[in-house]
Structure formats: C-alpha cells, structure tokens
C-alpha cells in the first residue's frame, strides 16, 4: 500500500514538472503584455516601461522561469500582477469556494445517478429506461451556462425564491450561504447527473449479461439482492473512475458556472487572470489544478479496492 502511494506520488513529480514548464511557456506564447493590458490604450512609453520594470517583465524568459521555479520549492508561487496578493493564499481561498460547490454537487449527482442508471439497465428498453436515458442525454448536452441562466430566470426572476447575485460564506451565515449556492450546485448536479447516469447504466448492462448474474438469479435470489449484492459492486467500478475524472475536472474548471452565479471561485480567478495576462496567477492556478487532479486520482485509485476486491493497491 505505502509503496503504491510512494510510487504514484513519485510519478506525479515529472507530470507536475512538465506541466510547470509547458504552462510557463504556453502562456507566454499568447500575444499580449500584462503591463500594456493594465495601462490599456492610455499607456505612454515611459509609464509602460516603469511598469514592466516593476513587474519583472524586463528579465529574459529563462531568468523569469528560474526565479519562478526556484520560488515554488520554497512554497512561494509569487504575487499577482493585478492585485499584488500572494498567489497561493489567493488560490486556496478561491479553491475552497469552488470545492464546496463541486463536492456537494458531485455527491448528490452520484447518489441519484448510480441507482437511476442501474434501474435503467435493469429495465432495459422499457419506458422507464427510455425516460431516464432521454433525460440524461438532454442534461449532459445542455451547456451549463445556459442551464444556469434558465435556473436564474425561473427561481430568481419569475418565482423570486432565490437571490440572483452575490455570495455569502458559510462561516458568516450558513442559511444565507446555502441560498446563494443552491443554484450553482443544482446546475452542476443536473449536468453531472446526466454524465453519470449513462455511465452507470452502461456498466450495469455489461455486468447483467454475465453468467454469474444468471447464476444468482437461477439460485432464486430476489432481483434486489441480485442488483445490490452482485451487480452493483462490479458495475460501480467504471463509474467510480469517471467520478474521479469528473471531480478532477470540475475542481479546476467551473469558471462558466461561477461567472453566471457571481461565485468568486477558482475557475473565475483563472479566467480573469488569463484576460489580464496575470502570469503568476495563471501559472499558480494551472499548477494547482494539475496537483488536485493528480491527488484526486490517487485517492480514487486507493479507494478502488473497497468497491472491487479483485483490484489491489499493489
């Protein structure tokens, strides 16, 4: 077990290094200059060169990279060009906000989608199956920003049940906080549910065709027991992997949902920074997202044996 973890962590190191180099290089391939963007069309040459000097943009690229990379090892991701805040606390602050929404949404999506997918597979080609698969396909095809805007219009504007803009943290007022994040959570929940239902249905279908299920039924077990005791464990594996991927994906990228619902999360921080060419923040965010992705996948792999004893962590 420990050897497995150690190996996985070591394997992540080159991934993160390659990530760091490519993030640094790619961002600088995009035309645009953070100093010029800060000054806009009002830039005069003297002011522009002052600002470039101050931001350390006058150094050559290898020197900039060496400074940045050296600082990472001391746990310093640099300072934001636009807000001058240190990058790591900035990312962590924003990350908790996004993570809360993503984790709750994915938890609920899993709780609903896995049984729904199994039931659809169990009653394959019935009306129920058709309805579930149809709903799932629609949900996963609808872009999240559009779904979000529809929810805003319905619950915010027409019914006036939920506030439209703003954000309150849980520590401040748990009830109000809940009100503000219900819609973003619902948006993600609906979308991810569509993805997970399809996966759960497909993997259950495969398992239900196997001989041991026929054997279980022949033994005279009830359908419930067949599904829960025999089919579920084997069918859940692929879905569990997908949940890992979905989590890794969402934890780094719900910028669209955050923008629509004015949630100050990590995704919006990243998008704003890209528009402002805030290099240290973009680099920090992408590196952090890669790190989260790696961690989530290690955790998912470690938990795999819990659901499928045939898989071991050795």
């Amino acid at each position: 077990m420990l050897r497995f973890i150690a190996r996985r962590v070591l394997m992540a190191v080159p991934t993160l290094f390659i990530m760091a180099v490519s993030v640094f290089a790619l961002i600088r391939f995009i035309p645009g200059d953070p100093a010029a963007l800060m000054l806009g069309d009002m830039a005069d040459p003297a002011g522009l060169s002052d600002l470039r000097e101050r931001l350390g943009l006058n150094h050559s690229l290898p020197v900039q990279f060496a400074i940045w990379f050296g600082n990472i090892f001391q746990g310093d991701l640099g300072h934001s060009i636009t807000s001058s805040q240190p990058v790591l606390p900035l990312i962590l602050d924003r990350f908790w906000i996004s993570a809360k929404i993503v984790l709750i949404a994915v938890l609920f999506a899993t709780l609903v989608a896995v049984p729904a997918g199994m039931i659809a597979a169990w009653r394959q080609n019935s009306l129920l199956d058709l309805v579930l698969v149809g709903a799932a396909t629609i949900l996963l095809s609808v872009p999240t920003f559009w779904l979000g805007l529809l929810l805003l219009i319905l619950f915010g504007l027409k019914l006036e049940w939920l506030p439209i803009v703003g954000y309150v943290s849980f520590s401040e007022d748990p009830l109000a906080a809940l009100l503000y994040i219900v819609m973003p959570i619902a948006t993600l929940f609906l979308h991810e549910m569509g993805v997970l239902i399809r996966m759960s249905r497909a993997s259950t279908l495969e398992v239900l065709r196997l001989d041991y299920i026929t054997h279980a039924r022949a033994k005279g077990l009830s359908e419930g027991a067949v599904l829960m005791r025999h089919a579920f464990k084997n069918a859940f594996g692929p879905t569990w992997t997908l949940i890992g991927l979905v989590l890794g994906n969402l934890l780094g990228g719900i910028a669209v949902v955050e923008t629509v619902f004015t949630i100050p999360g990590l995704g919006r921080l990243l998008v704003d920074s890209i528009f402002a060419r805030d290099y240290p923040v973009i680099q920090g965010c992408l590196l952090f997202i890669a790190f989260v992705y790696v961690v989530v996948n290690i955790v998912v792999d470690l938990l795999y044996p819990v659901f499928d004893p045939r898989v071991t962590a050795e």
């Binding site: 645009g32 963007l37 806009g40 069309d41 002011g47 805040q85 748990p174 009830l175």
Partner: protein, 522 residues
C-alpha cells in the same frame, strides 16, 4: 446510507425554504451598484482600472476635477490662479474640509500627498507627466500658509490642471498621512470624499459608508466630479457581477439598484419595463477604424479616402448603438465644448466616389484584413458592417476576431492593416489628439504621423487662450478629414439603468457610476 442521504436532502430543502425570507429582512437597504469586475486596489492612481477609479473617487478628492462638460473646476480648492508667465499655479483651499478621521485639510496635507505621489516608490501612474518626461516638470510645491498651495512648473503647460484632474491619476487625490503604514506602504484611503471606505471583500463587493462631516463643494446640481456631492444614503455597496445577463436579471429582480453599464442591446427591453429607469449619456471615448498608414497598400491616401467614402458612418452608428448615439467624424468628442460647427463636417458617404478612388489608386483586389474583438460588442458589430460596406465597393475585406489582449498587443506594435478600436475617454481635445498622433518610429502604436500636424498639437498644449486653441483644433480636423489617417465613427454611449425607487441617479459623460446626490425612496 439511504436514510442518511434522505435526512441530508431534507435538511437542505428545509434550510433553503427557511432562508428564502432572509433577504427581505435586511434593514435600511444600501445602494447597490454593480461592477463588471472587481477593483484592483484602493490606492488612487496606482494599481487601477476604470472600476477602481469609480470606487476610489467616492473616497478621495483632488484639488480640481472634471465637470460634466469636461471643463476643469475647483474641488478641494476654493480657487485656482495662474501667474502671467504660466509657471505658477496657486490653489486656495476651501475652509471646513475634513478627512474621514476628523482632522481638517491643510496645505501641508496637499504637499505631503504630492511628495508621496512623486516618490517613485509609490508607483503613481501619472508620475511621468510631472517629472520632466512629459510636457512640464513640477519643480516645487510651496505652502505659504495653511490654506494656500503653490505649484511651480519649469514651462507653461495648458494641460497641467487637466492632468491633475484625470481620473486615471486618481484625481491626484489628497489623502491623510495615516493612509499609509509606518513603513510607507499603502494601508487604506483616508480622504475627504462623500463616502468612507468600510470594507473590500475581494471578488465580492466594496462597502462604503456615508461621511457625515462631508463639506459639499457646491450647492445645486451634480456636475461630473465637481458640483454638489452630498452623500444621501448611509451605505453604498459596489457588487461585483461579471456576467452582464446576471446583472440585468439582478436589477429586474431588485437584488441590484443600479447597473451603470447596460449593454446597448438591452436598452429597448429596459425602457419597456416599468420597474426600472434609464439614464443615457454620450461619453468621450472614440470608436474608430484604425488604418496602418505604413502598410504598402494603405500608405496610398486614395485608398484610405476610398475607405472613408465607402462607409456610411451615421448608419453604422445608429445600428450598433440602437439609435442612441449620434455619429461623429471628429477626434474632438461631441460633448466637448470645443466641438463646434467646424467639427460637424465629416466624410461624405459616396460608394461611387469610393470606387473611382480605388481605380485611380490602381487597387486590384488585394486583401485587407480588419482586426476586431468581442470584448466590446459594439466594436465587433461595427466591424461586421464596415466589412460589408467595404466589400460593397469592391474592397476585398476580411474580418479577423482576436481576443482583446492580443488585439491590444497588435495595436501597441502597429502590427495591423485595419482594426476597429475603441479608445477610452480623454477629457481634453489635446489629449484626444495626443492619443492617436505621434511619430511611429518611436511609438509604433501611434496612428497619425504627420510632423506639421504634430507641431500644431504641441502648440495646443502650450497655449491657454481658448480661441487660439479652437483655431488649432479646427485646422487639425480639416487635415484629419483630408489625410484619413484613420476613420472616426462615433463617441460611445453610457446607458445606466436603475430601480425606480432610486432617485437622482444619472449616467455620466465620465463613464463612471456616482453614488452621491442619490437617494433610495421607500
């Protein structure tokens, strides 16, 4: 497991239902104004953008400020006098002005603030305007008594006051010494403005509160950043709402009281809604079609004239601003007092003349690429129309849409043939001309490079006589129409929408929301 999940779900639903009533319980509602992005800092004129200026200028004030007609008016100063040689500016301070911490404003505070701004460590954006790299240098600031400040320049500068008052310079706002920490680093603005800074929650909102001891500079009407500036609400909250559709929905719902920058396309819908009001102002930004005069093809003046003749600018303007703006082919903005009848003269829309000019120029269908962006919807919309109109006279025009940062980079390097480009507002005609004129060898971003015209522009910055300046601007305009270094289309529109119970809110020619002289009726 099942039971747990059900309990959890039920708990959430109950919570949600109970919480529905919460917003209604709020007491004495603040005035909530939306901002399309968070502010960058609270440090005036240092780390800033338009939103930052808009918020910070509620808290700090300068000696002079722009009025609604872009003329310079005293703000913290009672009066300003200029010596005959134009080298000394004497400011008499208003009596009874206090900082937010209760201490009275004195000439010493002005001198201290100036010293801080001109310290390179402060990183003031406008330092290069005053330290000799710009038109003039401030050689000394003297305080003969507690209510008098004298600025001494090395040469006459007609734009000295206009530069001091610039919003992007933080209005050279006078702040109290306690605004900075003991080590000299920035803490928070303690100014003299109508509102005090209470809290800035990054990415969420900026909260200001009423300054009870505010000394109103003038009774009567609101006038740009001068005029009457009474704080009439107890709290102002600038709320960050990056998505414009969400901002509109929040306004209609009543979660936001003012949306200062409504998209032109939404104006019609908002007008039809009885719960919200609308205020529209034409700002001083320039919406342009820039032409690279060093491009082998476009260096030919006849082709540039053909482009101007092919464009129906009144129609483009009406289409992209939903009929809200009037076209303007002069670099001097419509709302400027220098925009006289001479500046109403523009290009003549004449497709046949355009075709004739193209033929004379020997144009053989070489491609012309128009760069544009989608950050500014009007800019994009106008480029589409421009492309169609150019194609109609036989110009092989194609569109290339760039992300804004990339377009700005191409602009700064002069690396384009033609681009639709919006300039932010300059409040003096000399500054408007200066934003587009200059030597391309030294500054590739400059668009109009003509030494004779440049000499005229520099003269306009030295002379203070109004009639003489007007004559210079008139001549520059005549040359501009003839040479067509680029095409001027219109000045932008500022459409602000507000809830009907918000009283006194007006859109400003300065393109920024103002919370003073605004009240919320019950």
């Amino acid at each position: 497991m099942k039971v747990k999940a059900r309990t959890l779900l039920a708990g959430c639903l109950t919570g949600a239902l109970m919480g529905v009533a919460l917003p209604a319980q709020a007491q004495q509602a603040p005035l909530r104004i939306s901002l399309n992005a968070d502010i960058r800092s609270t440090n005036p004129g240092v780390n800033r953008d338009d939103n930052t200026d808009a918020v910070v200028l509620h808290v700090v004030e300068g000696l002079v400020a722009y009025g609604e007609d872009s003329s310079i008016k005293p703000l913290l100063a009672q009066s300003v006098s200029v010596s005959k040689d134009g080298l000394a500016y004497t400011f008499k301070l208003r009596n009874g002005v206090k900082f937010h911490n209760g201490t009275p404003l004195t000439a010493e505070d002005v001198a201290w603030s100036w010293k801080r701004y001109t310290d390179p460590k402060t990183e003031w954006r406008c330092l290069s305007e005053f330290d000799g790299r710009g038109r003039s240098k401030v050689q000394a600031v003297e305080t003969p008594d507690a209510q008098t400040v004298v600025f001494r320049l090395d040469k006459p500068d007609a734009l000295f006051l206009a530069t001091l008052a610039r919003t992007d310079c933080g209005m050279t706002g006078v702040i109290h010494k306690d605004s900075v920490k003991a080590d000299g680093s920035w803490d928070r603005p303690i100014g003299t403005g109508p509102f005090k800074l209470e809290e800035w929650r990054r990415g969420e909102f900026v909260k200001l509160s009423k300054f009870d001891d505010y000394a109103n500079p003038a009774e009567g009407k609101i006038d740009g950043y001068a005029g009457s500036k009474r704080p009439l609400v107890n709290e102002v909250r600038f709320v960050v709402v990056p998505d414009s559709a969400a901002a509109k929905a929040a306004l209609l719902r009543g979660d936001i009281d003012v949306v200062p920058d409504l998209a032109n396309a939404d104006v019609k819908e908002i007008k039809a809604n009885s719960s919200v009001g609308l205020s529209i102002a034409q700002n001083m930004g320039l919406s342009t079609l820039l032409i690279q005069t060093r491009d082998p093809l476009l260096s030919n003046v006849k082709i540039r004239q053909a482009i101007a003749a092919a464009l129906d600018t009144p129609q483009i303007t009406a289409a992209v601003t939903e009929g809200l703006a009037k076209h303007n082919n002069s670099i001097v903005p419509l709302s400027s007092s220098y925009h006289t009848a001479a500046h109403d003269k523009g290009y003549t829309y004449d497709p046949e003349a355009a075709q004739r000019l193209l033929k004379e120029a020997g144009y053989k269908g070489e491609p012309i690429v128009i760069l544009t962006n989608k950050r500014y919807p009007q800019t994009f919309a106008s480029s589409v129309l421009i492309q169609a109109m150019l194609q109609a006279v036989g110009i092989n025009a194609t569109l290339e849409v760039l992300e804004w940062g990339t377009q700005l980079d191409r602009y700064n390097k002069g690396n384009y043939q033609v681009m639709a480009f919006p300039y932010s507002a300059r409040l003096d005609p000399s500054l408007s001309y200066d934003s587009v004129m200059g030597p391309k060898d030294k500054q590739p971003r400059k668009v109009w490079d003509n030494p004779e015209a440049q000499a005229l522009l520099e003269k306009s910055m030295m002379v203070s006589d109004r009639a003489e300046r007007q004559k210079i601007f008139d001549e520059l305009h005549a040359r501009f129409l003839k040479e067509v270094p680029f095409v001027m289309l219109y000045n932008g529109i500022e459409a602000s929408a507000f809830r009907k119970n918000v009283q006194g809110y007006t859109a400003s020619v300065l393109s920024k929301p103002r919370a003073w002289e605004v009240r919320i009726a019950n």
